[in-house]
Each structure stands twice: as structure tokens, then as C-alpha cells.
């Protein structure tokens, strides 16, 4: 037995995982693909009806809600990831020097990332509350007009992006910090000899060397930001008046509120293609920059 196992270890070791992947992941993807070509509302009496590409063409040509969701998904992702990258690199620069209590502080910055998103969403809901919330109190303190936050169609999506930025800036910061620590010292010494200012050093030495690390961080964050679900569903469920309905939310609503499994599956396939496309494009851009 152990002899046999040893000989076939190369595939025996990953076999349980492979079975899991095939049964729990590959099969569902193919099944979803198949459902996407049918019309079916999970009825026990009526069998799924084959409709070919009808679900896809309907989404792409005549569904305003779909295109609005595509736009919101990208808007949310770009705002959130840009904010996280900018603030994350700034935070990493601030943390990249020794001071008492540094490790303790670094630890506390982990907390937004690991805190339960739904619970965090509830706290932000209280803070965003237009009349009793802390945010408007703060705006008043600094003499700015109060906002409606997630209660208004216009402000809801940026407000949710703000929560995402709060959650995930520390991740970019930690990755950038690890990158900063591993940079060679020579270029910095050379820049110092040349009499460069701190800003010049940052812009012309640190940032270019850090770019590959930041690139990977941006890709990882973009994948997750495109698929953001928990905080949006917990705080607005896509509202008010669909103003925060991203692709993930719309797919969820189609599938599990309307039970329109065909269109929902078609949407998810397109969504998958979009995420994959973004990953490929970002990866290509990253290689182009570093080459």
C-alpha cells in the first residue's frame, strides 16, 4: 500500500483537492454555463427551456439595469482601489521608520481587514445616519455641509467605496511596507550624495523601485473590489433606487430574489469574463511597465 502510494504520489497527493475542485467548482461553473442558455425559475413542474443565447443578448442589448451595474462595478472598483493605493503607499511611507510602539500600531492597522464585513457595515450605517450619525457631526465641526451618505442616490456608491477604502488601505500599506523594507540601500545613498530632496527621492527612487510590488497589490485588490458584496448588501442591498447595484448585487438579486436562474447565470458568466479580462489587462500593463 505505502509502496503503491509512493509511486503514484504525484497525483495521489492532490487527488482529494482535485476531486473537490471538479465537483464543487468546475462542475458548478459548467452547470451555470448550461443554465445560462435556458429559461427556468426553479419550478418543479416546468422543466428548463432551452433558449440559446437569448439571455445574453437580452442582457447586452436591452437591459438598462445590466449596463448601469457594469458602470457602477467599474466606478466602485476604480475609486476604491485608487484611494487604497494612494493612501496605502502614504501609510507605508509613514510606517517605514522606527518609532516606539511601531509594531503595536502595525498590528492595530490589521483590524479593518479582518473584522466581519457585515458587522463593520452596520457600524458605518450608524456613522452615516444623516441626523444622528457621527459623520455629519464631524462635517459640521469642520464647517462643511452635511451629506446624505448612503441615503442618497448620488452619494451612496462613493460612500460605500469609502468603507472599502477604510477596510483595505491597510492591505496595500502592508504589502508596500514589505516592499520598502526589501529595497536595496545603494540608490538611496547615491541620491543623498547628489543632494536630492526627500520628495525627489520618493518620486524618482522609491516609487519606481516599489512599482512591481504595488502592481501586484493593485491586481489582488481589483479582483476583490470588482466582486465586493458583503458591505454593499449589508448597507444598501443595492439601493436607494438601484444606485449601488453592482454586477454582483444584480446577479444575486436575479438569482435569489427573482429566481430567474437563466438570466442570472448569463450575467455571472459575463461578470466572470469581465473580472478575468481586468486581471489579464492589469497583468499585461504591469509587465509592460516593469519591462
Amino acid at each position: 500500500m505505502s509502496r503503491w502510494l509512493e509511486k503514484h504520489l504525484k497525483w495521489a497527493f492532490p487527488l482529494p483537492a482535485v476531486i473537490f475542485i471538479v465537483v464543487m467548482m468546475a462542475f458548478p461553473i459548467l452547470y451555470t454555463l448550461r443554465i445560462s442558455a435556458t429559461e427556468w425559475s426553479m419550478s418543479a413542474i416546468l422543466a428548463p427551456k432551452f433558449v440559446g443565447l437569448a439571455n445574453y443578448t437580452k442582457l447586452l442589448t436591452s437591459d438598462h439595469r445590466f449596463w448601469a451595474a457594469v458602470w457602477r462595478t467599474f466606478y466602485f472598483t476604480v475609486v476604491a482601489v485608487a484611494g487604497e493605493t494612494f493612501l496605502g503607499v502614504a501609510l507605508a511611507m509613514l510606517l517605514n521608520r522606527d518609532f516606539p510602539g511601531k509594531n503595536f500600531m502595525k498590528t492595530l492597522f490589521l483590524l479593518p481587514m479582518v473584522a466581519t464585513p457585515v458587522a463593520v457595515g452596520m457600524v458605518w450605517m450608524l456613522m452615516f445616519e444623516p441626523t444622528i450619525g457621527f459623520m455629519n457631526y464631524f462635517l459640521k465641526l469642520v464647517h462643511l455641509p452635511p451629506q446624505l451618505w448612503i441615503a442618497s442616490q448620488k452619494a451612496a456608491l462613493p460612500s460605500l467605496a469609502m468603507v472599502d477604502i477604510w477596510q483595505w488601505t491597510p492591505m496595500i500599506a502592508l504589502i508596500a511596507l514589505a516592499g520598502l523594507v526589501s529595497l536595496p540601500a545603494d540608490p538611496f545613498e547615491a541620491a543623498e550624495v547628489d543632494g536630492a530632496t526627500s520628495w525627489q527621492v520618493f518620486w524618482h527612487v522609491t516609487l519606481p523601485m516599489l512599482r512591481p510590488t504595488i502592481g501586484v497589490a493593485v491586481i489582488l485588490r481589483s479582483i476583490d473590489a470588482l466582486k465586493t458584496f458583503d458591505i454593499i448588501y449589508a448597507m444598501t442591498q443595492g439601493g436607494p433606487n438601484y444606485s449601488t447595484e453592482t454586477l454582483n448585487l444584480y446577479g444575486y438579486t436575479l438569482g435569489f430574489s427573482y429566481f430567474e436562474m437563466g438570466p442570472a447565470s448569463a450575467l455571472l458568466m459575463i461578470f466572470f469574463a469581465i473580472v478575468l479580462g481586468v486581471v489579464i489587462a492589469l497583468n499585461w500593463a504591469r509587465k509592460g511597465v516593469t519591462a
Binding site: 505505502s2 509512493e6 504520489l9 504525484k10 497525483w11 497527493f13 492532490p14 482529494p16 483537492a17 475542485i21 464543487m24 458548478p28 452547470y31 451555470t32 443554465i35 502614504a90 509613514l94 510606517l95 517605514n96 521608520r97 500600531m105 498590528t107 492595530l108 492597522f109 490589521l110 483590524l111 479582518v114 473584522a115 466581519t116 464585513p117 457585515v118 458587522a119 463593520v120 452596520m122 450608524l126 456613522m127 444622528i132 457621527f134 488601505t169 502592508l174 504589502i175 514589505a178 516592499g179 538611496f188 510590488t213 501586484v216 479582483i223 466582486k227 458584496f229 458583503d230 448588501y233 449589508a234 454586477l247 454582483n248 446577479g251 444575486y252 438569482g255 435569489f256 455571472l268 478575468l276
Partner: protein
Amino acid sequence: MNERRKTHPAVNALYIVGLVAFFLVFMFPFIWMILSSFKTQAEIMSIPPRWTFTAGLKNYVEVFKGQEFGAYMANSFVIAVGSTLAGLVLGLPAAYSIARNKQASLGFTILVARIVPGITFLIPWFMIFTRMHLVDTLTALILSHMLVTMPFVVWVMVPFFEAIPNELIEAARVDGCTEQSAFIRIVLMISGPGIITSSILAFIFSWNNFMFSQILTGKHTKTLPVAIFNFLGYSEINWGGLMAAAVIITLPVLILALITQKYIVRGLTAGAVKG
């Protein structure tokens, strides 16, 4: 690389101001959550906001009295532990094999699992679990949470196993160890930090999971994130109770993260930073 240059005192002051500002902004929601959980509804409603509180543990008592919060907590815990252990059992040997035999295509599959939107798996599984009467069972929930934990374990462990020198395993083989016993006796023994990292984070991700649980739980298997979402209800929001519930859900995760911080930094940044 730490900057060793002498900096101007003004720059130094700016530095400290920046750091403190960041710190306050990122910690504030937690502080507000905890403060509010000890306030009465009237104190939460007061404008301007109050920094004092008088409700004591009233909100917490109410949360546990009004709902079966203890049971939900037990559900969350069982599902998180179950899916983490199962994820390790499946993920560790697979990660080792990918690292040692350079099975790149298998590694790629794991990457795809990270890219596919979660609901894509959920639609077929919801249909199948419904037909098999598995909705609202721990089995269904643990299986669905494994979609998160197993790929994550592999994701973290492959670079970890790749860093183990081949000589170590060859030496064991020379001593008469079979490949599988070398894996169990040597590789797993020296991979403690990696295994701790991936288990803690897998546990946290399962504990935090909302989407899968929202669809697949019912009366019997409701988890904490689903319970707090239902807490919102239809009438006026009981903010104090809501914040107490939020504290109960987040606190275990926060404490776990604080205790094990040196491990989880590595896991959270896995895939971006080598080593």
C-alpha cells in the same frame, strides 16, 4: 531600508501628525462601535453625539435574550472550524505536490477559484442542495465555506513549501523515509508558521462569510453575520442592540488577529510578497 537621514523638526512633526491622523481614522469605527454598544437608544440619538454611556450591559443581555445568539455563535464556530480543518486536509497535500512537482496547471486552477465570482458556484449548489434537502444543514455550509478555505490554504502554502530546501527531503529519503512519511514527519513539522497562518485566516474568512451563509442557512444553521443582518428588521433600528451584536461578532476575530498578528500579516499579503 529605514531612512537614517537627519530630518527637519517640522518634517518630523508633520510625520507624527500624519501617522496619528491615519491611526484615528482607521480605529474610529471600532471605538464608536464599542461606545455605542454601551449606550441607550436615547444616548445614541442625541445630537451632538455623546462620549458617555449609561446602558451598561443592557444591550448585550437583550441580544442574547431576544434571539438565539448563543446558538448562532455555536453554528458559526462549528462551520468555521469544520471548513478550516477540511480545507487543510485537502489543501496541504495538494499545495505540497504543486510546490514539489511544479504542477503549474493545478496551481492555476486555484488562481481561477479566486477570480470566479462566488455566486457562480452558489446557483448550482443552491439547486442541488435544495433537491437533496441539504439546505440548512452544517454539511452544506461547511462544503460551501470550503470553497473559500481550501483555495486559500493552497494559495498561502505553495510558496511556503517551495521555500523548503529539497536536500531536507532527500536526506530523509536516504534515511529510508517514504515520500509520504517525509511529508508528514518533516515537511508538516517545519511548516508550523505557514499552517498557523493559513488556518487562522481560513477560520476568519469562514467566520466572516456572509454570501454563502445568507443563501444556505435556515432556522437551524444561522450564522452570526446572517443573524446580525436580520437584526435590522423592519421597524426602527435598535442601534444599541445592533452595535452590541456587531461587537460580539467582531471581537473574537479581532482578539484572534491581535494575538497572532505576526502570522497573519504574511497570509494577508500572500501572493504579493515573496517569502
